[in-house]
C-alpha cells in the first residue's frame, strides 16, 4: 500500500525525530535543572519562554524561523559565516526548527521530575560526600527516570507530528524535508486518497502505540 516515496518520508521523519529528541534531552536537562532549582526572578519569564511553542501557531514559528534562518537573519548570517550555508530547505534546518518546536515537551516533564525529588535526597548525598556531578548522575537522574521517559516519548512523538513549521521552511524536498505529514498533505491535496489513507492510518496506529507504551510503562508519570 505504501509507495517508495512514502518509505523515504517515513525514514526521514524517524531520523528527524530521533536526532531532535537526543539534542533536546542534552540541552533540556541543564535548562530543566536550573528551572527546578532556581529562586531567580528570571524563572517566570524563562518558564514562559520555554512554554511558548505550545500556544503559538506553527505559522508564527515557521514565519519567524524563515526570517531568523534566512540570509538577513542572525542565525542565517552565523551559519553563513561558519561556511554552513543557509538552513531553510535542509534537513538540519528542520532539526533546528523541531528543537524549538518540541522544546517544552522535553523540558517540562524533566523539570517536573526534578522538582518532585525535593531537597532531602540531595542533602543525604551531600552528607555522604558525593560531588554535585556524582549526585546528579547517581541520585537525580535515576529518580527522575519517569520524567525522562515521558520527555523522550513526547519529544519524539511531537516532532513526528510536526507539520506547519516544516511546510513553511522545508520546501518539500524528497529525502530532505518532505516528512510524513507533508507527504500526507500532498496526497490529500492531489486527491490521491488511497495513498493518503495508507500513511495516515499508519500515523494513527503509531500515535496510539506510543501513548499506550507511555501510559503502561509510566502509569504514575505526570503528563506534560
Amino acid at each position: 500500500m505504501l509507495e517508495p516515496a512514502d518509505w523515504t518520508a517515513i525514514w526521514l521523519t524517524l531520523r528527524l525525530a530521533t536526532i531532535t529528541t537526543l539534542i533536546l534531552l542534552l540541552l533540556g536537562t541543564p535548562v530543566a535543572w536550573w528551572l527546578a532549582r532556581t529562586r531567580s526572578r528570571w524563572k517566570g519569564p524563562l518558564v514562559a519562554l520555554v512554554a511558548l511553542p505550545i500556544v503559538l501557531p506553527p505559522t508564527v514559528l515557521g514565519f519567524y524561523l524563515l526570517l531568523f534562518m534566512g540570509p538577513e537573519g542572525p542565525l542565517g548570517q552565523l551559519t553563513r559565516f561558519l561556511g554552513l550555508g543557509l538552513l531553510p530547505f535542509t534537513f538540519w534546518g528542520l532539526v533546528v526548527a523541531s528543537s524549538f518546536y518540541s522544546l517544552p515537551f522535553v523540558v517540562q516533564p524533566i523539570q517536573n521530575a526534578f522538582e518532585a525529588i525535593g531537597e532531602r535526597p540531595l542533602e543525604a548525598a551531600a552528607t555522604l560526600r558525593a560531588s554535585p556531578l556524582d549526585t546528579f548522575f547517581s541520585v537525580v537522574v535515576p529518580l527522575a527516570r519517569p520524567g525522562y521517559l515521558t520527555a523522550t516519548v513526547m519529544g519524539f512523538a511531537h516532532t513526528i507530528g510536526e507539520f506547519g513549521v516544516v511546510l513553511m521552511i522545508g520546501g518539500n524536498i524528497p529525502g530532505q524535508t518532505r516528512v510524513v505529514s507533508v507527504q500526507i498533505f500532498d496526497h490529500v491535496e492531489s486527491m490521491a486518497y488511497p495513498q493518503a489513507h495508507g500513511l495516515a492510518a499508519s500515523m494513527v496506529v503509531f500515535a496510539f502505540l506510543v501513548l499506550l507504551v507511555l501510559y503502561t510503562l509510566n502509569p504514575t508519570g505526570r503528563r506534560p
Binding site: G171, E189, S190, M191
Partner: protein, 252 residues
C-alpha cells in the same frame, strides 16, 4: 447575577447570528496568484453594491479538493482553465458560466536587483543554490515552471536545486525572504503599475509553456444567489480589467 450573565450571553449570541444573517456575503475561492488584484476588486464591488465578497486564497488544486468535499464557496477564480471545466463536468459548477478573467504570466524572479538577467541566462549557469517553484501537481504556475524547465532542457541539471512551495504565495515568500535566490512566481505578485516592485526578473516567453488561462466559474452553491452572479459580471467591467492589467496579466 447568573440570570443577568445568561441574558447578556444570549443577547450577544443573537446579535452575532443576526449580523451574519443580515450581511449579504459571497464566499469566493481565489487562486493565490490573484490575491492582490482580487482584494482591490472585492473592495470596489462592496463600495458599489454594498455586498461583501469573503475571499479564501489557496492553490487551485487545494481549492478544488475543498469544493469537491463540500466547501461553501459560490465562486471559484482558478489559476487554470482545467479545474473549472472539471468542476462543471462533475456537476459542481453551473454550466455556461465559465469565462477567462485573466491570462497569467510566469516570471523568473529574484529579490536581488542584479541576479536575473533579461534572458534568463542565470538558469543555464546553475549559479545558485535554490530555485523555488510551486508544487506542479497542485498549482498551475508550478506546472508551467516545470514545462519551461523541461523545454529549456534544464530539468535534470537543476533537479537537486528545486524547492517547492505549496502554492504560488508560499513560493514567492521563499524568494522574497532570500532563502531561495530565485524562483518562478506569478508576474502579478511582483509587478505593479507596469513595473517590477523590487528585485530582478525575466518574463518567461509564452512559447515555453502552455498559456496560463485563468478561468472563473459559478459554483453549484452559488446557483441561486444573484449577488454571486453580480460579482462574476463585475470581474469583466472596465474598472476591474484595468486593475487586472496593472498587475501584469493579459486579457482576452
Amino acid at each position: 447575577m447568573r440570570i443577568k450573565i445568561v441574558a447578556l450571553c444570549s443577547s450577544l449570541l443573537t446579535l452575532i447570528l443576526l449580523a451574519s444573517a443580515m450581511a449579504d456575503e459571497i464566499p469566493v475561492a481565489v487562486a493565490a496568484n490573484f490575491t492582490a488584484p482580487m482584494q482591490m476588486i472585492a473592495a470596489n464591488f462592496e463600495r458599489a453594491t454594498g455586498r461583501r465578497a469573503v475571499l479564501s486564497f489557496g492553490a487551485t488544486g487545494t481549492l478544488y479538493a475543498q469544493i469537491k468535499n463540500g466547501a461553501p464557496f459560490e465562486i471559484l477564480l482558478a489559476a487554470d482553465s482545467a479545474t473549472p471545466a472539471k468542476l462543471e463536468q462533475e456537476g459542481l459548477a453551473v454550466p455556461g458560466t465559465r469565462a477567462t478573467y485573466a491570462i497569467g504570466k510566469l516570471m523568473l524572479w529574484s529579490a536581488k536587483p542584479d541576479l536575473v538577467d533579461n534572458h534568463g541566462q542565470i538558469l543555464k549557469t546553475g549559479n545558485f543554490k535554490h530555485l523555488a517553484l510551486a508544487a506542479p501537481q497542485l498549482a498551475p504556475y508550478g506546472a508551467a515552471a516545470m514545462e519551461t524547465l523541461t523545454k529549456l532542457e534544464l530539468l535534470t541539471a537543476l533537479q537537486d536545486k528545486l524547492v517547492q512551495g505549496e502554492n504560488i504565495a508560499q513560493t514567492h515568500q521563499f524568494v522574497s525572504t532570500g532563502n531561495a535566490e530565485l524562483g518562478f512566481v506569478a508576474l502579478s505578485q511582483v509587478y505593479e503599475n507596469g513595473k517590477l516592485r523590487s528585485g530582478s526578473g525575466w518574463i518567461v516567453p509564452a512559447g515555453l509553456h502552455t498559456p496560463i488561462r485563468q478561468d472563473a466559474v459559478l459554483l453549484a452553491k452559488g446557483k441561486d444567489h444573484p449577488s454571486a452572479q453580480a460579482l462574476l459580471q463585475f470581474l469583466h467591467n472596465n474598472q476591474s480589467r484595468k486593475i487586472i492589467e496593472s498587475f501584469g496579466y493579459e486579457l482576452e
